[in-house]
């Protein structure tokens, strides 16, 4: 098994799906000759041709709209947003067309919208956002964000094969920073299932995406203090794996809900509310949330650093929880 990057894992996943099923095709800006802004589709134009690697005009709404229309005609479109920050330009198509079409008139829209998200790359307000909460609020969508290379490949394959619209967030910071053993052939990771990233005893950290690794960094430090973190990597944010969440909560009785997105209205609120509602008696301390502060993502390094959650902030919250 080869060690490959998170980026390469996604690329492999899409590639294999395109080999497997001629109905799968990609569309987006600069994904052809250029191979995509992040090179996810590198080499695909040569292999699959212009009709399956479709370079589009700058028109996110049309990209998603066309994906929906193609899916009606039996295709399996994988639409790329160049940055997840531009997904707002396709918002109506996603939340009103794609999300509701199965429910309304039994017309499934099996498509994937891929969206590179997240900060830490000095991208400023429009190349750093984590927009997942908007979609988690929208029944009919599935929302996925892998944290590891293995999951990235397995989840993109499941997303492509899924019969509902999937918004697939890829954390830009992980693209080249994270490597892992990834089988070359076919395997899938199921949507809707969380993964225990690290077993622990005292505090359940419920998180996803890049923050899984930040939590793990904190866990190493806290271990030395005798505080043992359990880290649950949600992987799918809609539908949430409530069973796995409650299992970790009931085991640890102290919970930190943790994401890179801003606090208010973030996915953390939903998770916290479910925990309160369904595991109230198991809680030995308040469910604590850690997230970015409620501001746009600033550009300048000292500001961005202060903005992003990090291991030190996890440690601070965990210590507080442990001492409660």
């Amino acid at each position: 098994m080869a060690e490959i990057t998170y980026l390469e894992a996604i690329r492999q996943g899409i590639w294999e799906e395109m080999e497997r099923d001629s109905k799968v095709f990609c569309l987006g800006e600069d994904i052809g000759v250029y191979g995509g802004a992040f090179k996810i589709t590198k080499g695909m134009l040569e292999r699959f041709g212009e009709e399956r690697i479709v370079d589009t005009p700058i028109a996110e709404s049309a990209i998603v709209g066309a994906a929906i229309g193609a899916s009606f005609a039996g295709m399996r479109p994988v639409a790329e947003m160049q940055f997840s920050d531009f997904i707002t330009c396709a918002f109506d198509q996603i939340v009103n067309f794609a999300a509701k079409t199965r429910y309304r008139w039994n017309a499934p829209a099996p498509l994937v919208v891929r969206a590179p998200s997240g900060g830490g790359i000095h991208g400023g307000p429009y190349h750093s956002q984590n927009p997942e909460a908007w979609f988690v609020r929208t029944p009919g969508l599935k929302v996925v964000e892998p944290a590891t290379a293995y999951d990235a490949k397995g989840l993109i394959k499941s997303a492509i094969r899924d019969n509902d619209p999937v918004i697939f967030f890829e954390h830009k910071k992980l693209y080249r920073a994270i490597k892992g053993e990834v089988p070359e052939g076919d395997y899938t990771v199921p949507l809707g299932k969380a993964r225990l990233h690290r077993e622990g005893k005292h505090i359940a950290v419920i998180t996803y995406g890049a923050m899984v690794h930040v939590a793990a960094e904190a866990a190493e430090v806290l271990d030395r203090e005798g505080v043992s973190l359990e880290i649950l990597d949600l992987r799918t944010l809609l539908p949430l794996d409530e069973e796995a969440i409650l299992a970790s909560v009931k085991k640890c009785s102290r919970v930190l809900v943790f994401h890179e997105d801003t606090l208010t209205g973030g996915v953390g609120g939903e998770i916290s509310a479910r925990i309160s509602e369904k595991a109230f008696e198991w809680l030995d301390a308040p469910v604590v949330r850690l997230a970015a502060p409620d501001t746009p993502v600033p550009f300048s390094p000292p500001l961005e650093e202060a903005f992003l959650p990090n291991a030190a902030k996890v440690i601070e919250k965990a210590r507080w929880l442990a001492g409660y």
């Binding site: 028109a59 709404s61 229309g69 499934p108």
Partner: protein
């Protein structure tokens, strides 16, 4: 800089009487007229029942939009379509459903929120589609269907299908970003889709001149390098011919076209709107151009029908409507227990 040769719009005058020289049309003139007449009259009757009877009786709740006066557009386009082509109608294009074989029963049931409708009560009025019959439902947001129709057309092209897509929208819809993005993508991709605008001169209460500063919707085709054609939208034969040309082009792999059908909305925006903002003379002027009366006149002139035969058609349609309403009223409401089904595959 090289001199510029703008492409289109190509002007075609609407003609009430079909010209002789059209042997290349797939349907014979007489048959187009006969079928066109039937479906227009059926649309008119079904919509009259909906708007003027069932809605007022409180049997239909929510919004009601009809295509009174502009039936020639969707019917004319529908007659061009082949059974396996994809249809993207808008909210005044009931005739397109009828041509494809959706029954008045299903339509009344749809409007009344019964399980016998196309959406099992999940949706109301013209928000209906049926994948098996290749009719895609609008969402409310005007023009949202335009990029979606384009995507279906791209898929058909990829699949080397001979089939094409018909997408109808209003004049007001052309102001929306999605409209632009859709037409642009379609033209770059040479997608086999016919864009058909029913320019009824109003968008809700907003007259054309507050909607756009160009004279014709077809003027916009220039910006997409596609042919734009203007046609008399109250002449079903003229609509048929214009859409047929565009469809042939699409089927031949030459890409999309924009067909603008000039017409008028002989009703308020919806059942609750009397249309008081419309100057009287427009009602009169356009009332005289009724597409159903016009095709009847042509059919009579050409000896394709008789007064009696036409009366029989109308009587048959009335019976059809009566029977369909009865059927629909007997169709049950959906059970509340089904509320959470099918948000996702297999979910309940």
């Amino acid at each position: 800089m090289a001199a510029m040769k703008p492409v289109g719009p190509v002007l075609v005058q609407g003609a009430t009487a079909p010209s002789e020289n059209e042997g290349d049309l797939s349907l014979k003139q007489e048959e187009i007229a006969r079928r066109g007449h039937y479906f227009m009259a059926l649309q008119r009757e079904v919509e009259d029942r909906i708007e003027r009877k069932l809605y007022r009786q409180g049997k239909i709740l929510g919004g009601v939009y009809v295509g009174r006066g502009q039936e020639a557009i969707c019917v004319g386009a529908g007659l061009v379509s082949e059974q396996e082509d994809w249809l993207y109608p808008c909210h005044r294009d009931l005739g397109l459903y009828l041509v494809r074989g959706v029954t008045p029963r299903e339509i009344f049931a749809q409007y009344m929120g019964r399980v016998g409708g196309l959406t099992r009560g999940r949706e109301g009025n013209m928000h209906m589609g049926d994948l098996k019959r290749r009719i895609v439902a609008i969402i409310s947001a005007m023009a949202a269907s335009v990029p979606v129709a384009t995507g279906t057309a791209m898929a058909l092209k990829f699949q080397r299908s001979r089939n094409i897509v018909f997408n109808i929208f209003g004049d007001g819809a052309t102001s929306r970003g999605d409209w632009h993005e859709g037409l642009n993508l379609a033209s770059v991709q040479k997608a086999p889709v016919v864009f058909i605008c029913n320019n009824n001169q109003y968008a809700y209460s907003t007259p054309l001149e507050k909607q756009m500063a160009c004279e014709h919707v077809a003027d916009r085709a220039v910006g997409y390098g596609m042919p734009g054609e203007i046609v008399d939208g109250n002449d079903v034969m003229a609509v048929y011919r214009a859409v047929k040309r565009a469809a042939d082009r699409a089927r031949a792999g030459e890409g999309p076209s924009l067909v603008e059908c000039k017409t008028f909305r002989m009703t308020g925006h919806s059942a609750h709107d009397g249309g008081d903002y419309v100057p009287d003379h427009l009602w009169t002027e356009w009332g005289e151009k009724c597409p159903i009366v016009r095709i009847e006149r042509v059919m009579l002139e050409r000896g394709w029908t008789t007064r009696e035969e036409l009366e029989q058609v109308h009587a048959r349609i009335k019976r059809e409507a009566d029977e369909a309403i009865e059927w629909a009223e007997n169709s049950p409401y959906p059970d509340a227990s089904t509320l959470t089904e099918d948000v996702y595959e297999g979910s309940r």
